[in-house]
Assembly symmetry: C2
Homo-oligomer: 321 residues x 2
C-alpha cells in the first residue's frame, strides 16, 4: 500500500494554519494564510488551494492525499458546514467541506476548531489516554472541545461545546460579535484581556501604569502581558480578574462533566502562571467540595498550531472512501 497523507486545516478568527501530515502524526509541510482577507469564501478557498498546492506536489500529488480535515469556529461535523460564526468574515451557513472537496478533488471533513484541537491533544498531547477531559482554547475567542466517555460530545445537531458563549456575568460586558451580555469569551479571550485593561485604566485615571505608555487603542493582550511581567500593578490585576472569571466558568464546566483534566490551549497560555494561578484558585473556590483538588488544570503539550492541524488531520483517517 502506498504512503498516504492527510491535510489538516485550522481556521482561526485571524489566521488559517495548515499542514500535510503523515500517518504517524508528523507534520511534513505547514503554512498559513489570513482568515480575514477575503470577503468571499470562494476567494479564500482559492488562496488556500494555491498555498497548499506546492506542499501537495512535494509529497507526490493529490493522488496520495487521503483527504482534508478542517477545524473551524461553529463548524458542524454532521453537515460539514460553518454556521453563523461570530468571529469569521463569512456570515450565514457556509458549506465549507463540500466547497473544499469540489476545489481539491478529495474528501473533506469539518468540525469545531476546538474539537479538532481536543482530538489532537487526545492522540498526541497532554490528554493521551484520558476518557474525560475538556479543552479550552484561549485565543482571539474562547473555544472548547469536550470529551466524555472517550468520545467528543457533538450534541444532537453537531454544535455542542460552545463554552466561550456561555454567560458567566449576567448583564455583563457586551460581545461585539453576538451582542450577548457577559459571556466567557468577552472576558477570557485575548480581546477580553485588552478590554479589561482599558476598563481598569479608565476607572483609575490617577493611578500610574506602564500600560499608559501605549496609545489606548493599541493596547492588546501582548502589551498587558509585557507590562505584567515588568511588575505593573494594573496589568497584574487584569490577569487576576481574568483568572477569577475563567476559574468560575471552569468550575461550572467541571460540575457538568467532571473531567479528569481541563487543558488550556492558545495564545493566552503564554502568560503562564500569571493566568494559571488565579484561574486555579477561582476554580477550586467555586467547586462543590466533592470536586475539589481533583481536576488537573494544565497547559497543552502541543505547539499552538500543531494540535489543531493534527486534530483536523485525524478526522481524515476516519473518512470512508
Amino acid at each position: 500500500m502506498k504512503q498516504e497523507y492527510a491535510i489538516g486545516i485550522d481556521i482561526g478568527g485571524t489566521n488559517t494554519v495548515f499542514g500535510v501530515v503523515d500517518h504517524r502524526g508528523d507534520i511534513l509541510y505547514r503554512g498559513a494564510i489570513s482568515s480575514r482577507k477575503h470577503e468571499k469564501v470562494e476567494n479564500y478557498i482559492n488562496e488556500l488551494h494555491a498555498a497548499l498546492t506546492p506542499a501537495i506536489e512535494q509529497v507526490g500529488g493529490i493522488n496520495v492525499i487521503r483527504g482534508i480535515g478542517i477545524g473551524a469556529p461553529n463548524g458542524n461535523y454532521y453537515s460539514g458546514t460553518i454556521e453563523y460564526a461570530p468571529n469569521l468574515t463569512w456570515k450565514g451557513v457556509i458549506p465549507l467541506a463540500q466547497m473544499v472537496t469540489d476545489k481539491f478533488g478529495v474528501p473533506a471533513a469539518l468540525t469545531n476548531d476546538a474539537n479538532a484541537a481536543a482530538v489532537g491533544e487526545m492522540m498526541y498531547g497532554a490528554a493521551k489516554g484520558m476518557k474525560d477531559f475538556i479543552m479550552i482554547t484561549l485565543g482571539t475567542g474562547v473555544g472548547s472541545g469536550i470529551v466524555a466517555n472517550g468520545h467528543l460530545i457533538y450534541g444532537h445537531d453537531g454544535f455542542a461545546g460552545e463554552l466561550g458563549h456561555t454567560t458567566i456575568i449576567p448583564n455583563g460586558r457586551i460581545h461585539a460579535g453576538t451582542g450577548m451580555l457577559g459571556s466567557l469569551e468577552t472576558y477570557a479571550s485575548a480581546t477580553g484581556v485588552a478590554n479589561t485593561a482599558k476598563e481598569f485604566l479608565d476607572a483609575r485615571p490617577k493611578e500610574d501604569s506602564l500600560l499608559r505608555n501605549h496609545p489606548r487603542e493599541e493596547i492588546d493582550s501582548r502589551i498587558v502581558y509585557d507590562c505584567a511581567i515588568q511588575g505593573d500593578a494594573i496589568a497584574k490585576e487584569v490577569y487576576q480578574y481574568t483568572g477569577m472569571i475563567l476559574g468560575l466558568a471552569l468550575a461550572n464546566f467541571v460540575m457538568f462533566s467532571s473531567p479528569e483534566a481541563i487543558i488550556l490551549f492558545g495564545g493566552m497560555t503564554k502568560a503562564g502562571d500569571l493566568i494559571l494561578k488565579p484561574t486555579k484558585e477561582s476554580m477550586e473556590k467555586n467547586l462543590l467540595p466533592i470536586f475539589r483538588n481533583k481536576v488537573k488544570l494544565i497547559f497543552s503539550e502541543l505547539k499552538e498550531a500543531d494540535a489543531a492541524i493534527l486534530g483536523a488531520s485525524a478526522l481524515v483517517w476516519e473518512l470512508k472512501n
Copy 2:
C-alpha cells in the same frame, strides 16, 4: 427461567420512595419513608428493610429479587457511595450500596438520583429514543442527569451532572447547605421559590399581596403557586424571576452539550406554564443564534416518583451476578 424483580429506591432530600419493578417496567408495589428521620444511616436502612420486606414476600421472597438500584443525591456509580450530600442528614462518605447489599443479601447499585430519573425517562418516558438530552429535577433541590451519545455522563470520578450547584449569579444568594453563592439551586428549587417570594415581600412592604395572608416563615412553593394562580402580582413575578434564572442556566447547558431536549421533572413542574413560559423565553434569549428554537423544553411524561424508581431499578438489570 423464573420471573425476577428489581427494587428501585429513590432517596430525595425529604422522602425516600421505592418500588418493586418487573422486567417490563411495571411497578408492582411501592412505598415511602422519610429521608430525614434517622440521624444514623444504619437506622434508616433498617427502616427501609422493614418497609420493603412485605413487598418482597408478596412477589416470592428475596430469592426472586435480582438486585436493588438506588438513586441518591451525590451518589457515585463507580464506588456505590454517597459523598458529602449537602441535602441529606448523613455527612461524609456513606458506602450505601455495600450497606444495602449487606442488609438485604442481594447486589446493589447506586447513582445520582437525577441520573436514575434520566435513565427512567430514556427507557419509559419523554426521552425514549433520544441520544442527547438533559434531565433537570426541580424539587427540594435542583439535580441533573446528562445523556450524550446515548450514554449517561458520569465523568472521570462518577460525579458528573451536578448542574444545580453551578454558579448562575456570581456573588448571589447563599446556599444553606454548601455555603456557595448564587448557584442555580438557590433560585430554581422549591426552597428558592419560597425565598424569592420572601425577598420580594420584604423589598416591597407597601404592596398588597395574597402572600401576606400567610405567616412569613410558612411561605413555601405551594403557597406561592396558589397565590399566582389566583392572580397575585408578586407571586406571578416570583415565577417570572425563577424562570428568567433557570432559562439562563439552561442556555448555558445547551451550549455545553447541545441536547435534543431538556426534560423538567419534579414538584416545581406542577406550576405548568407559570414556570415553563418564562424559562423558555429566557433560555432562547440567552442562546447563541445557532442553538435557538431547536431544543425541546418539556415536562417529564412519567409520574413524579415513577421515573426515579424505574431508573434506579434499571441499574439492576445491568448488574453482573
